[in-house]
């Protein structure tokens, strides 16, 4: 069949959660663990329905908690299976010991985490704090901007996680509520194209599998020297994941016609003097405001992070070098630091940015809306910084009281 002659996908108006569930189905996992938590529940409901309809040939484990979800998929993955599970917030926290073990075992698990707050203040609301709280677990983190990217990233995640040279678990993050419940048009690819995209994984050497009678083991003690070696190899694989992800994104574009620029997406960056750095659903709003500002002659661009772990420092430096001023927008906090987490990390590369000035914006936590007005304010403040005006290092955009407090 001439692939160019036929439609490559069909448009469905679906939620971010449905996009994740459909992507999981298209990836044909062997084992799926399902446990509900707001705002992720719809994913495992949809997968359960696919399974009940006979559309999804997988072992579906309706576990009794998230901790078991992660343990079960990790074990199935080490045995040789392709696996999927999804969680959010407290669920991610409840599986944290297993999340660490999964990474340490280099099990190429793919999991969706629908971002939600995790404070003791009960907040069933959006925010990337759950992601930040697990950033040093040794997983690869990808972040989606819209429902389409949710679907695309889940498929790309399998290629990255299961790549023989990588073998690191991947978590696909997207904003709870803002994307999980957003219905919009999504190009749903056909099964045969997804099969083709993932078929590369079958042609590579087989990863080590825990099979009956094999005499092989995993999860063994590695105190004597082996531990350092394995940790170094893990860190090296994370580094390799950057270039690999760029390749995968290009290949994805060749098959499905959608590419995002790999590790980072640059929006109107080429001639920009002033840049906002953001991630997730806020980027759509930022792009809209940038278009308006551009009409008024403001040279502003957006650098969207699609990968957060490993930190794509090289790509970010290349994109940001020489810009007059950079405003980093964080939807989470970094306790013990004044600025947001991404700001704090990017700050480590400040000397390589060719004199760009940087400030931190904290907004959108606990469902606070990152509004058009808020983004305009962020751009204006960053422009002020570019012009050499005195600007605060950290601005809590939706909580002006923070600026009046002497503590920050």
């Amino acid at each position: 069949m001439n692939t160019k002659a036929r439609e490559k996908s069909q448009i469905k108006v679906i939620t971010g959660n449905a996009a994740a569930a459909i992507a999981a189905k298209l990836a044909r996992p062997d084992v799926v663990a399902a446990y509900p938590i707001t705002p992720q529940t719809e994913i495992i409901e949809q997968i359960s329905q696919f399974h009940a309809n006979g559309e999804m040939d997988c072992e579906l484990i309706t576990v009794e908690g998230e901790n078991s979800a992660m343990n079960a998929v990790t074990a199935a993955c080490l045995a040789g299976g392709r696996v999927f599970t999804a969680t959010s917030s407290w669920g991610l926290a409840f599986m944290y010991d297993a999340v660490l073990a999964t990474a340490g075992a280099r099990a190429p698990v793919v999991m969706v985490n629908v971002n939600r707050e995790t404070p003791g203040i009960i907040a069933v609301s959006s925010g990337q704090q759950d992601m930040i709280s697990t950033r040093d677990a040794g997983w690869i983190f990808l972040i989606a901007e819209d429902c389409q990217e949710v679907l695309d990233l889940v498929l790309q995640a399998y290629r990255l996680a299961e790549d023989y040279d990588i073998q690191v678990p991947v978590m696909v993050h997207y904003d709870g509520f803002y994307l999980s419940y957003l219905s919009e048009g999504v190009n749903v690819p056909f099964q045969e194209d997804v099969d083709q995209f993932l078929s590369v994984l079958k042609d590579q050497p087989e990863r080590t599998k825990l099979l009956p009678g094999s005499g092989l083991g995993c999860g063994s003690h590695g105190i004597l020297g082996g531990y350092m070696e394995l940790r170094y190899k893990h860190v090296s694989a994370m580094e390799r994941a950057k270039a690999k992800f760029n390749e995968i994104d290009k290949e994805y574009e060749a098959i499905f016609g959608r590419g995002y620029g790999g590790l980072v997406e640059e929006y109107r960056m080429a001639d920009a003097d002033v840049v906002l750095v953001g991630s997730g659903s806020m980027c759509g709003t930022i792009k809209t405001v940038i278009d308006t500002k551009r009409e008024a002659g403001v040279k502003v661009g957006l650098l969207k992070m699609r990968m957060y772990r490993p930190f794509p420092s090289e790509a970010m430096i290349a994109a940001l070098k020489g810009k007059k001023a950079i405003g980093v927008v964080d939807r989470s906090l970094c306790f013990g630091f004044k600025g947001g987490p991404i700001y704090t990390e990017l700050k480590a590369f400040e000397t390589q940015l060719g004199g760009s000035k940087m400030i931190s914006f904290i907004d959108g936590i606990a469902n606070t809306d990152i509004t058009i007005t808020n983004v305009e304010q962020m751009i204006d403040t960053t422009c002020d910084l570019a012009e050499g005006k005195d600007v605060r290092e950290v601005t809590w955009v939706s909580y002006p009281e923070a600026q009046e407090d002497g503590g920050l």
């Binding site: 819209d146 957003l182 219905s183 919009e184 048009g185 759509g284 709003t285 809209t288 509004t371």
Partner: protein, 181 residues
């Protein structure tokens, strides 16, 4: 781009109304995005949903503060201040009500009134007015034909329910009373 805010109560299908409309727009090659206001959903509790409909991709991921159109599925909210909050001048309102008394508001230019509950009871036997409202919205806004709305219903209903809801949408389209203010 039209920004639409939907007001109703849990059980009326408020969120589904906005989803079906987003779906219908996608079927015409346009773009639609819909999402609920975040909160605990319970039958009978006030529900708000948002819809953005455009001929260009919708990228904004914020709530709607200044709607062009408000859609009220719950007659008891017809005079609520919250419903009219931020309505832009030249705005439209679609109201589900058995009483076709016009509401006066400075920014309201056009109004559509439909007794969607009555039609829903007649056609599907339940007081779920959402699909009638979808048809009425298409007519009042002039943004959509009725066909893509009926096509969109296939993604949410099947069999007899689909047939009945298509009738609901068509009757909404035909029977909505329009008033220029």
């Amino acid at each position: 781009m039209s920004e639409v805010r939907f007001h109703g109560r849990g059980g009326q299908g408020v969120v589904t109304t906005s989803k079906i409309l987003a779906n219908a727009f996608a079927r015409t090659g346009q773009f639609g995005a819909s999402f609920p206001m975040f909160g605990f959903e319970r039958r009978g509790a006030p529900v708000t949903a948002f819809g953005r409909f455009s001929d260009k991709p919708v990228r904004e991921k914020t709530q709607i503060y200044n709607p062009d159109i408000i859609v009220v599925l719950d007659p008891s909210q017809r005079n609520s201040e919250l419903v009219f909050q931020g309505l832009l001048p030249g705005g439209m309102m679609l109201l589900n009500d058995s009483d076709n008394t016009i509401i006066s508001h400075d920014n309201l230019k056009k109004m559509g009134i439909i007794d969607a509950n009555k039609i829903a009871v007649e056609e599907i036997g339940l007081v779920i007015p959402n699909t009638v409202v979808v048809g009425a919205f298409a007519r009042m806004s002039g943004l959509l034909d009725i066909e893509p709305c009926c096509d969109a219903l296939q993604d949410y209903f099947s069999g007899k329910k689909l047939t009945a809801n298509i009738v609901c949408a068509k009757r909404g389209f035909e029977e909505v009373e329009l008033f220029d203010l």
